[in-house]
């Protein structure tokens, strides 16, 4: 199966990479203790599926015991043991390795071994997503192959270009800039996967990737992105389309602090009412339809469709241009010189919107929003810069407003606090939004709610307060469509990680082509 991929991994070592393509390629190579079920429920442990762990039990409210499957083994023949799990936890939490997932493991106090097949997780406190934290972020690493590797060399170790895993597929070859090939491991302890070879074929351009798919040079594409691509691919007789929830959301984020000086409020966006007026003035449905067609929804706050807290009933500011105009006038912003732009004390209501040139979607959105704001008497100048500069300016707070997107985990617990609470200052909370009430509610939802309903209520309240504060205009939450050649059947896509269930995909014998039969 040839997968048209638009990015190439940096290294095939899950603890030190957060590239989406690294996740896709390593998904079938390295297993977790257990994995998320199709329901996407991250609270409790009932919806999780065993992987390396055959079973688990709670010894105490904060003590979780995993029993490893004795059949599990590394592709070099060594058994997977509890020591591998303890070693993996040590690596993920090591400050020198500095894994991007380290903060997600902060509630785990220790991981110890009881015997060669039993491993014990001790948590600092009880909270709803303890099990999720224990299993979702870590892919177990082979201690016998990596223990001697100095921790400061993990980011560029040769093992990361030719890994030995314990999953259904083994690494075969990595041709830089071209492809990575995996082959089905016939000795995989949960049964040999049906598809013999997975080949990730890299292409630098999304359109070219779609052409490869339509020409039959690739079998699968993870996401078609634009309505045009969806129309073309889904109309093709040899392809089947699979829609699934997207993990991204995008928004215009206001900088609440003065650009480059976080001690002072922003001259415009430090004013909550002005921010509210701008949200009220924005018809979010129109640009969404223009850019995405049916491939996205307006989110009821800063959230992806993947999150279980998604609820269209969450209260938010409506589109009401009349109310927006009244509010702006009340704040003293009126068009005194008749040039179509509101002004106050000799200053025009004008700001700059930071947009990365690498995202065609965001550039398109920026232009549509510019037009919408103009009709409301607000002048928006676009600062289009390449992504590294966009990222640097965002982090340094050198912007008025920015158009950004986030790819999220299946739960708000890890990403949301980094972006919308004080914990994210100097990190991903670029606009320095802070409301102690929101922080408190998020903390309650993440750490002290006792069940899913309590957590949901806390999240809902947090979103509603945040929406009223209007730290941004929440524009879109994506819906993905994958395209797969019709000779593949039993295709199931888990929205948070589309390759997670590739082991169960198959090609019926009567549809096998010569290419499918090639062994490695």
């Amino acid at each position: 199966m040839v997968i048209a991929a638009t990015g190439e991994p940096d290294i095939l070592l899950p603890p030190v990479s957060e590239f989406a393509t690294t996740r896709d390629v390593t998904e079938p190579i390295f297993l977790k203790l257990a994995d998320l079920g199709l329901s996407g429920n991250t609270v409790g442990d009932e919806d999780f599926q065993p992987q390396l762990a055959q079973r688990w039990e709670w010894d105490a409210p904060t003590t979780l015991v995993f029993h490893l499957d004795p059949r599990a083994h590394w592709q070099d023949g060594q058994a997977v043991t509890a020591a591998d799990v303890a070693f993996t936890y040590d690596v993920y939490t090591d400050t020198v390795v500095n894994s991007p997932f380290r903060s997600s493991l902060r509630h785990i106090a220790a991981v110890t071994t009881r015997d060669s097949l039993t491993v014990v997780f001790r948590f600092r406190q009880r909270y709803p997503e303890m099990f999720y934290d224990a299993v979702y972020h870590m892919r177990i690493m082979p201690a016998h192959l990596l223990r001697e590797l100095p921790r400061d060399q993990w980011r560029s170790t040769p093992f990361g270009r030719a890994p030995v895993g314990d999953g259904p597929y083994r690494f075969v070859a990595w041709k830089a800039g071209q492809s990575i090939e995996l082959a089905a491991d016939s000795t995989f302890f949960l049964g040999r996967p049906h598809i013999r070879r997975l080949i990730f074929r890299f292409t630098p351009d999304q359109q070219v990737a779609v052409i490869q798919l339509l020409a039959g040079d690739a079998d699968v594409i993870e996401v078609l992105i634009t309505p045009d691509n969806v129309e073309r691919a889904c109309a093709d007789a040899k392809l089947a389309c699979y829609p699934y929830k997207g993990s991204a959301y995008g928004y215009v984020g206001f900088n609440l602090a003065a650009p480059g000086d976080s001690t002072k409020p922003h001259p415009l966006f430090g004013d909550r009412d002005l921010r509210r007026a701008l949200v009220l003035a924005t018809d979010r449905e129109r640009p969404l339809h223009n850019v995405f067609g049916d491939l996205a929804r307006v989110p009821p706050g800063p959230m992806s469709q993947l999150w279980w807290v998604w609820d269209p009933e969450i209260r938010e500011l409506p589109y009401d241009s009349a109310q927006a105009a009244r509010l702006l006038t009340r704040l003293g912003w009126i068009d005194s010189d008749g040039d179509g732009i509101r002004d106050k004390d000799g200053r025009e209501l004008s700001f700059r919107l930071l947009v990365p040139t690498t995202s065609a979607i965001r550039r398109q959105y920026a232009r549509l929003l510019q037009e919408e704001f103009r009709t409301a008497g607000v002048d928006v100048q676009l600062d289009e810069v390449d992504f590294t500069l966009f990222n640097e300016r965002a982090r340094a707070g050198r912007f008025d407003a920015l158009l950004t997107t986030w790819n999220t985990d299946p739960t708000p617990s890890s990403g949301f606090p980094q972006i919308w609470t004080k914990a994210g200052f100097g990190r991903s909370n670029y606009g320095r939004y802070f409301n102690p009430q929101v922080d408190q509610l998020v903390d309650r939802a993440v750490t002290s709610a006792m069940n899913r309903d309590q957590a949901r209520r806390a999240w809902r309240s947090a979103f509603e307060i945040l929406n009223q504060d209007a730290p941004g205009i929440f524009l879109f939450a994506t819906e993905n469509v994958a395209a797969v050649n019709k000779r593949f059947t039993d295709v199931t896509i888990r929205p948070d990680s589309w390759m997670a269930l590739v082991r169960t995909w198959r090609v019926p014998p009567d549809r096998l082509t010569d290419r499918d039969r090639v062994e490695r």
């Binding site: 393509t21 500095n98 071209q178 090939e181 630098p204 490869q212 992504f387």
Partner: protein
């Protein structure tokens, strides 16, 4: 002749050093951090500081430059921030692809360009000359990227005559280790090379036509005809050799064109060459890859120019005598 070659080589080294130095300072002056790629959303400020220290970016720019030159003298090009591997390895993977692409394009460029130019000169002002002249002008004015997409859509997606990209079929030929896989490589090379080569050929044809027209009006060509020589011999032996001198100049000029054109063609055809590597590195501020790519590219261009000069000397005895 040896003194001339030594002088040229010394000048070439100086040119390469200048290009590397300029690239080093320009890429470092560009705003944006090398450790914030698009796919990476949560790099902490502490990690950024640590990476800057690890790669020596916390030192002053002159210090970094001196260190870079010192490493370069030892044959070390540094390590890629993004690819997490030595730059030399990344360049070694990419270079053969660009080399073969440029070579194939050059072959198409000069073969087609030369043939067309001669044909047009011989049939001056005929319908064929006018039609071919206009077609050449049309192709020559097409942006390489656009021509690539047109060929890709037409010959790969719709007609299925050629593959859509990459240097080989990843299923049947993961390695070029057999005759069928060698043929597969050439099959994959065809469209990218045609895209690059056709645009060049159109320019070469116009150049060659003018050169041939000038030569075939010379006295010695008329004399050759008067001696009763066959027209083919008159054109290919007597006229073409003299008309080739400006053509050889084109060899030197074509190299930079092919390498810059390759950047776009490599993107369209997912061809894993130097252009694609350099563009990605520039966007990601992968300093050492950018500088390494500039080093190799400038070396290739300088070498191309040197070869052209040597060929010129071989083709024109007057130059050889003067050079010696």
């Amino acid at each position: 002749m040896i003194a001339w070659v030594v002088r040229r080589v010394a000048a070439s080294v100086a040119i390469i050093w200048a290009v590397v130095t300029l690239t080093f300072f320009v890429i470092h002056a560009a705003r944006g951090s090398p450790f914030l790629p698009e796919q990476s959303q949560s790099v902490s400020p502490e990690t950024l500081d640590r990476l800057r220290r690890q790669f020596g970016l916390d030192r002053s720019l002159p210090e970094q430059y001196v260190l870079y030159l010192r490493n370069l003298a030892r044959g070390e090009l540094g390590e890629s921030f993004v690819l997490r591997r030595p730059v030399a390895d990344a360049l070694a993977d990419a270079m053969p692809h660009t080399f073969f692409l440029a070579l194939a394009a050059l072959l198409i460029d000069f073969t087609a360009g030369l043939a067309l130019g001669i044909y047009q000169a011989v049939r001056e002002r005929s319908v064929g000359d006018v039609v071919l002249g206009n077609v050449a002008l049309f192709v020559n004015s097409m942006p390489t990227f656009w021509l690539g997409l047109v060929l890709l859509l037409g010959f790969a997606q719709w007609l299925h005559w050629f593959p859509t990209g990459g240097p080989s079929d990843p299923v049947l030929c993961p390695r070029v280790d057999s005759l069928p896989c060698l043929l597969d490589f050439f099959w994959h090379l065809t469209l990218p090379a045609l895209t690059l080569g056709l645009v060049g050929a159109a320019g070469t044809a116009r150049f060659q036509r003018a050169a041939m027209l000038e030569v075939i009006r010379q006295e010695y060509v008329r004399t050759a005809r008067a001696k009763g020589l066959r027209e083919g011999r008159v054109l290919l032996v007597h006229a073409l050799r003299n008309a080739l001198l400006p053509f050889i100049t084109l060899v030197g000029l074509a190299f930079p064109f092919l390498l810059t054109g390759a950047v776009l063609v490599e993107t369209v055809y997912s061809w894993p060459g130097m252009g694609l590597l350099a563009v990605r590195a520039i966007l990601q501020r992968d300093y050492y890859v950018v500088t390494g790519a500039a080093l190799v590219t400038s070396a290739m261009v300088v070498l191309g120019s040197l070869i052209a000069d040597l060929l010129y000397a071989v083709a024109d005895p007057r130059i050889r005598v003067r050079g010696a």
